[in-house]
Symmetry: C2
């Protein structure tokens, strides 16, 4: 994209004009071994230029035989321009707390990057307490700098407040591609380490507890780079039939819970992960009967923006806007309308157990696999290979009032079953999983003991190609041994082992 | 124990005198199939007489060929007089949320009782929302009834507030064995279902947010039984050498964290599970350098009472007093002293993620086994057999500022290793486990990626008899396959399988 903006026009604080520099000059300020806290959450609000220039610097150093790696902390996933380029040049020693980049993933699973996969609500306190050492430099995208030097956040907030506070030095990218009128949409607040914590007084989705800006002493800012690059988010695609079926099971279930009086008519605040099923649920809500909906979630994608526009969704709290180019245009054109309905918060607050438990959200998250007893694997393909990370799914699953885990019943043309005898890695335990949904149906596990759960999951969620095999395992497991959670340990992981050896669980 | 008390002297509400009856008469009011919410937490404050009379009734019905089972919800574990007698007569259809009785455990693992093992902080909302159907009858021990009919709680609070509110009918046991002067020690408050929840305004361990009594409409009370039976809690025994070593690793670690400035000099509020290691930690604190300690925990055992007496521990919040006869005597004799320093709350509050995260507790919980990547099994022996339940360990592990999981490095004369390649059941995921301790040493997993964690755990925590075997597994797992969490799936559970087949993991 052409740099069609007036340089310095968004840097109202004159004192900072002297710090304007090229991405290359900014990258030159980052020393080998540095621990960097960068902005970015679900492919939005990440710095667009400095990481690329840093990657070039690392590539050049490696070409000369010099060691150069950095430790990289972000909000969550970023984009090829950040994780991708730095992983490509083998520039990342440690990565935390969530990623989704194919090159980065490959390096993690090759053992070249130490990846630390933690609950998003834990990041702030772990960095404050120094678990990752001193944070050297924060690299933060903003949409403008005000006269008093305060920073107007960009499309994602993530851990930016923490990075700015904890880092010795700060590099800023001012991005002209998003409307400056985002100003006022954010609510920046955080919590100190114990014993200094106070209640987080969010009673409902749209309560504000902070102020709209980041604050950084001018002398910590060592460089400012201007960009006009949009976030790299793909255009919205229509959910497939499988996703639509899963969504329809969820929506029917919610309708029944309202009829039973367990949920109020406008439901409870929604949390929804990313992907096809989430889009299908949002689409179903847009054409459904529920009114005055709210959301307390991590990410606002195109579908949720549409749901706001339709008037069905009245208030949304999140930590990131992850929008396609078309949706960004819509946002920019109708920014006054959206600003009244959207609050972007630090992920420490968007994912805080205190707020999630109080509001009693309805969480809908994807998974890699579930086992017959309701344990869920969110992260590891065949027990060893990291996909993306747990992200906020654990924060929401544990503390929501209702928690769904969803996926198609099979993958890889049927060679992988989404329901297995025992998951190869556990991210959400049997104590935290309430409802499992595939396109085959929905298993409501609430109030059930393990063997009752197994029957509900096999009967309702398994694909026909695997159903008999699961019944067979479950029945044989009940023939001997302890019967609280019957298993045949020599066979429990054999489906995964078979897939690794033959390419199919069949 | 002789019934050496003046009948009705603790039932100040005259209106209720007519409801006094024998345990047998009270038990006769409980119909087959009833769902019962009983008091009791960690062997304290459970009804002493009605369960036994109910068991006799069930035994008689079964002798006549009549079906008679009940669904049993409590606070946590009770005693042979409750879980034991009811399990013995095959009177329990469903059990929730925690138990520790040998007979009950046997029936659960025989498949005769459906046991639902959930986080203690989840109980209230799940019952309020009807996941276990309608609660028919609450059976609650108290130490007295005031003139206005309000109830003075006994040695444990547990879920009693919820049981009284949710049940159609209430049976009361007035226990004369504990001092009436417990009055004022309790702080009874709770939360409604969303969307009606408000912040829980506990800023420090000893903040009070409720009132000291349960309130129950007189017409819901269908019977009152008097008892003079003490809780069945064993006398304190001196921790063994292994427990002392584990405790010393923990205490040294805490000292260093204070020196580094990560913990304040008086630490943060302590949570400590039950058992030998906890006793050893408490004993270590009693003779150590830390002053002005506080605790926000579930259970107060003898050791903690001693720590209060010593002046080291100034304020304690819990949901139960689980004391030996000697300690009960001490409590009764010095009740005014202890009442100023102890608050007993509903377990919904003692275990609430909101309060635990805010206070930033230091959690120390036992475990059955940990694997080399830091996943912890708290509940299932060899993957299938339920021991006790997860209890509050998950509530505290996830939300505490520091979380320890502890156990001896071996069990069963060395035939079971406490550290295994892969745990046979996961209750605490890699995302929730920070520090693992055995008598061999301490593995600080904070800020470590999976392979780094494996090295720390094997090196520091494994027993010498198993160390080489663990290194061998870990090294071979790194020879092929994805390297984020290297495993050999065909072998990962082979140690457990071997134990089941040969009686030893060796």
């Amino acid at each position: 994209m052409a740099d069609n903006f007036q340089s310095l026009s968004r840097i109202k604080c004159k004192e900072l004009h002297s710090k304007l520099m090229t991405p290359e000059a900014a990258a030159a300020l980052i020393p080998p071994g540095a621990t960097l806290g960068m902005s970015g959450f679900t492919g939005s609000g990440y710095p667009k230029r400095i990481p690329g220039a840093l990657a070039e610097r690392i590539r050049a150093a490696h070409a000369k035989g010099e060691a150069f790696k950095i430790k990289l902390l972000t909000g969550a996933s970023t984009a090829p321009e950040l994780d991708g380029v730095l992983a490509e040049v083998d520039g990342i020693e440690l990565r935390m707390p969530f990623q989704g980049d194919p090159v980065c993933r490959k390096k993690i699973n090759a053992g070249d990057i130490n990846y630390i996969d933690i609950h998003l609500s834990h990041v702030t306190q772990q960095v404050q307490a120094g678990y990752y050492g001193k944070l050297d430099i924060a690299v933060i995208e903003v949409v403008g700098i005000r006269e008093d030097g305060s920073l107007i956040p960009s499309a994602s907030v993530g851990n930016n407040k923490t990075w700015i506070e904890q880092a010795d030095k700060v590099l800023i990218e001012v991005n002209y591609a998003l409307s400056e009128k985002l100003e006022g949409m954010h609510d920046i607040a955080g919590t100190p380490l114990p014993p200094h914590r106070e209640p987080i007084l969010i009673h409902k989705t749209d309560d504000r507890i902070g102020d709209p800006y980041y604050h950084c002493p001018a002398d910590k800012i060592i460089g400012i780079v201007e960009t006009n690059d949009r976030d790299r988010v793909n255009s919205f695609s229509e959910p497939d039939e499988v996703a639509k079926k899963i969504a329809s099971h969820i929506l029917n279930f919610l309708k029944k819970e309202v009829e039973k009086g367990i949920l109020p008519p406008n439901l409870l605040p929604l949390q929804s992960g990313v992907g096809d099923v989430s889009n299908a649920v949002i689409s179903g809500l847009e054409h459904g009967e529920f009114e005055n909906l709210t959301a307390y979630t991590e990410v606002i994608q195109d579908g949720m923006l549409g749901l706001i526009k339709s008037g069905k969704l009245t208030k949304v709290s999140a930590t990131a806007l992850s929008l396609s180019p078309e949706a960004v245009d819509d946002l920019n054109e109708n920014i006054d309308f959206y600003r009244e309905r959207i609050i972007l918060r630090p992920q420490e607050i968007s994912n805080h157990p205190e707020v999630i438990r109080r509001l009693g959200t309805i969480a809908i998250n994807g998974m890699l696999e579930a086992d017959i007893y309701g344990n869920v694997n969110s992260t590891h393909v065949m027990g060893s290979s990291m996909m993306n990370g747990i992200g906020g799914s654990g924060d929401f699953a544990r503390n929501s009032f209702l928690s769904f885990f969803v996926r198609p019943s099979v993958a890889k043309d049927g060679d992988i079953s989404g329901i297995v005898p025992m998951v190869s890695h556990v991210d959400q335990t049997e104590h935290d999983v309430q409802i499992i949904v595939t396109e085959q149906g929905l298993a409501d596990l609430r109030g059930l003991a393990p063997r009752q759960r197994a029957k509900a999951i096999i009967e309702n969620c398994a694909h026909p190609d695997y159903k008999e095999k699961l019944w067979d395992y479950f029945n044989r497991a009940q023939e001997s041994g302890a019967q609280h959670t019957p298993h045949i340990l020599s066979e429990a992981l054999s489906w995964h082992d078979k897939y690794l050896k033959t390419g199919s669980m069949k």
